[in-house]
């Protein structure tokens, strides 16, 4: 029975493939729309933005405006990003407090005095803008997503704490039933084995914050509609700051043995010690950098894969590709649900491992 269904499905798929080719031919002949640029679309989706684009309707963009906060030569300037009217080529000038601003490729610059072909931007030979940029503290799409996840985390753990207060015998009720196993998992499987019974309590709050913050941001990036969908943990600045905190903690809690193992490795001949010292020294920086790139690459790649599969429809310009690409993107999305949890876990576990290795006490010489 099952094999029969499978055969029918396969046959159907093969038949629809021939339609795909046919439909393709007929559309390409009369197609006069401008080419759909997949790379631009994907890069636009995974990058930060000054307004939260929701959808295009009838050729007009519908988006949620966010505040632009600039520290300029004359002090603080604020306005809503809707004043740029979705313009991203530097052709619309916003004048505030006697200063003119333009937005070009999601960066805000001071506008030139005169327009060149309608654009107030000037370029160097490599087509990078040469305009001066004010310091940008805007609530961008990603900052907005981060505030959302902070509110969500506060709600979840606030309710968990209330649930413990209310329960009489310490048995979790309500949402605490969901959070307690995760917290116990981080404590028993991540913190204690890597850091050790003696010191783990000092670092448990940091590890829990890391795990839940990364996880909830990852999950919110997977939800494809308005208040979510920001690619926050796929932003290298975000992962970089988390890795920097890990780096600072590791460096400051490190004991004598840790530094000794880096600069003068015990138990190996002197030429080897000289050879190992620079490698171990670079390792101090490479560890957090790999943390940063691992999370950034995994989450960005997930977004890129889903968007590429959906773009197949537009590349082939055929509706018959749609079932296959939707099925594949659902499949990838399901894998991503697993991957985002694993990545949050791995970031936390490696952080615990690095902290643990910095505090490890060696009783004997190797």
């Amino acid at each position: 029975m099952q094999i029969n269904t499978f055969k029918t499905l396969l046959l159907g798929l093969l038949l629809s493939l021939s339609f795909v080719v046919k439909a393709n031919e007929s559309i390409e002949e009369k197609s006069d729309e401008k080419d759909f640029n997949v790379t631009d679309m994907i890069m636009h989706h995974i990058k930060d933005a000054h307004d939260f684009h929701i959808m295009d309707w009838d050729g007009h963009a519908i988006s949620f405006p966010l505040p632009v906060i600039l520290w300029t030569n004359d002090g603080l300037v604020t306005f809503m990003s809707s004043e740029f009217h979705h313009n991203d080529d530097g052709t619309i000038v916003v004048e505030k407090g006697g200063q003119k601003f333009i937005k070009f490729h999601e960066e805000i610059y001071y506008a030139n005095d005169e327009a060149d072909h309608g654009s107030y931007v000037s370029f160097d030979p490599e087509h990078h803008p040469t305009n001066v940029a004010p310091l940008d503290f805007s609530i961008t799409k990603l900052v907005f997503s981060m505030f959302m996840s902070m509110i969500l985390l506060l709600l979840i753990f606030g309710f968990s704490a209330r649930a413990y207060n209310r329960s009489e015998n310490g048995v979790p009720t309500g949402i605490a039933k969901f959070t307690e196993p995760l917290i116990v998992f981080i404590r028993d499987e991540v913190a204690i084995p890597n850091i050790g019974e003696k010191h783990y309590k000092r670092f448990l709050p940091f590890l829990l914050t890391l795990f839940f913050f990364i996880w909830i941001n990852n999950i919110m990036g997977l939800i494809p509609f308005f208040p979510f969908s920001g690619n926050l943990s796929g932003n290298i600045a975000f992962t970089g700051v988390l890795a920097l905190i890990t780096f600072i903690i590791t460096t400051f809690v490190a004991n004598k043995d840790y530094w000794k193992h880096i600069f003068w490795m015990p138990g190996v001949p002197v030429p080897m010690k000289l050879f190992l010292a620079p490698i171990e020294f670079m390792g101090i920086f490479i560890k957090p950098i790999s943390l940063m790139i691992r999370l950034f690459a995994n989450i960005s790649a997930g977004h890129i894969i889903v968007l590429s599969l959906i773009s197949l429809i537009f590349i082939a310009k055929s509706i018959w590709i749609a079932p296959a690409s939707v099925i594949f993107s659902v499949f990838i999305s399901v894998i991503e649900v697993l991957v985002v949890a694993i990545q949050a876990y791995i970031f936390t576990m490696l952080t615990a491992l690095y902290i643990g290795s910095a505090m490890e006490e060696h009783e004997h010489e190797h």
Binding site: I293, F296, A297, N298, L338, I342, Q343, I346, M349
Partner: protein, 78 residues
Amino acid sequence: MSLALLQEAVSYVPFAAIGAGLAAIGAGIGIGKIGGSAMEAMARQPEMQGKLQGSAIVLIAFVEAVALFAVVVSLIAK
């Protein structure tokens, strides 16, 4: 074939894509080895299945991350 023509021909080779493909081969071998050994270990000691599965998934995520490093490099190099 003149040098200019050769350079022209080389400029059409999608080196970034080839790099990503090579990384995928490496990750495939790595994940295959992890999966194979995990299956073997589970067959030998079925009572350890839970632990083995957990660590296999984590190890796979590590290997996968290396492939994704390569993807990021090819995105930048493009």
